[in-house]
């Protein structure tokens, strides 16, 4: 199967990650052909997930469709790259109805458009008017600091790292002192037993 796919779609070597997971990267306009082939001929009948990774340095999103066999024995990941400006790819809802919610999630979080999906409304965010939050150009920390102001700490605030170091040093010193005491005690015991042994010997000798 792998060689057939490789020859027909002109892809790179199919990456076998585990014995139940393989991954292949195809161009965008041949993705659905490959998915249809996998579903109809090779029995990958379940769509597990549609995920997206943001490669901001190379300027594209990597969309991955994860298909699993009916007996859940093998998973095939089909990856394709789409551009970051005007991100758009056809919807898969005709083939898998569950793709509707997955594409809704990606639309909300990355701003990818799926023409053909009739229900691209918001899923977890509400009335979100800023940039889609999972894009890497969205600076979460700056957004949070601008919108909220935090409470100041208490007056007797201690620096956590310094405190932990100090406590650990104290514990170590205490342990060493205890070990020293133990050693001293055993030495004393040995000395105490030795004179008695000497006495015994002398007793014997007598």
């Amino acid at each position: 199967m792998n060689t057939l796919i490789r020859n027909r779609f002109g892809t790179d070597e199919i990456e076998v990650k585990r014995d139940d997971l393989s991954k292949v990267t195809v161009v965008k306009y041949r993705v659905f052909e490959l998915i249809h082939l996998l579903v109809e001929q090779y029995g990958y009948t379940t769509l597990n997930a549609i995920t997206c990774a943001d490669w901001i340095e190379e300027g594209h999103f990597a969309i991955t469709y994860m298909l699993t066999t009916r007996a859940r024995r093998h998973t095939f990941m089909v990856q394709t790259m789409i551009g970051r400006e005007e991100a758009k790819i056809d919807s898969l809802t005709m083939l898998f109805p569950q793709a509707e919610i997955m594409e809704r999630d990606l639309h909300e979080m990355y701003g990818i458009d799926f023409p053909g999906n009739g229900n691209l409304v918001e899923l977890s965010l509400e009335n979100w008017v800023h940039t889609p939050p999972l894009r890497r150009e969205f600076d979460t920390l700056a957004f949070v600091n601008e919108l909220h102001d935090f409470r100041e700490g208490r007056d007797d605030n201690l620096d956590v790292k310094a405190e932990m170091k100090r406590l650990r040093a104290l514990k170590k010193a205490a342990k060493e002192a205890a070990a020293k005491k133990e050693a001293l005690k055993t030495e004393e015991k040995e000395e105490a037993s030795q004179p008695s042994a000497a006495q015994k010997e002398s007793g014997h000798g007598k």
Binding site: N127, T140, R151
Partner: protein, 205 residues
Amino acid sequence: MEEGFLIQQRQMESDLSSDTSHKSSVDFLMNWFRKRSIFVLAYGTGCGAIEMPPTFTSRYDAERLGIRGAATPRQADVIIVSGYCSYKTLRRIIRTYEQMANPKYVLALGSCTVNGGMYWDSYNTIKKLEDYIPVDMYVSGCMPRPESILEGFLALQKEIAEGKASSWQRYEENYEFYRKNQEKVLGRNVAPAYDADWYLYDGGL
């Protein structure tokens, strides 16, 4: 008869200033009864909702203190904000809080209500609950165990008895402050929009 029994009541009780320390034996008795019977709204806001069932059922029985669950905000005294509040949840919490009848108290669980907690750098949660709803008692922890929640209830009962738990009056007096913060985070339309006809036209079905 107008829908304004509130007006008559407010006129009768208008000399209660914001310092509600009990001035007379009637106030003392009223607070004593209020602390002995607390109805908690059965609404699990965040991850702290997992600690509420053990507190209210057989193992760490909270009913011995007179605390029981209430089904609707109209019947409840206390709303427990248990954990983080995303903007979506905050909208519903504000609407629910405004539906409750005075005197009402807010018990905030967890460190997410104090200063953001684990989600301090999240783009979709609020960091300080006090900016949006007045809070009576914080119970710290992530999540606080049922024993801590029971201690929080005991402290709340003590504050009610002394007359210091007056967060509902703070909300009424400083409403512009709270509303400004709510609008900053939620937009102008603070309450969720309902589209059904029977919500647009009050007066029934």
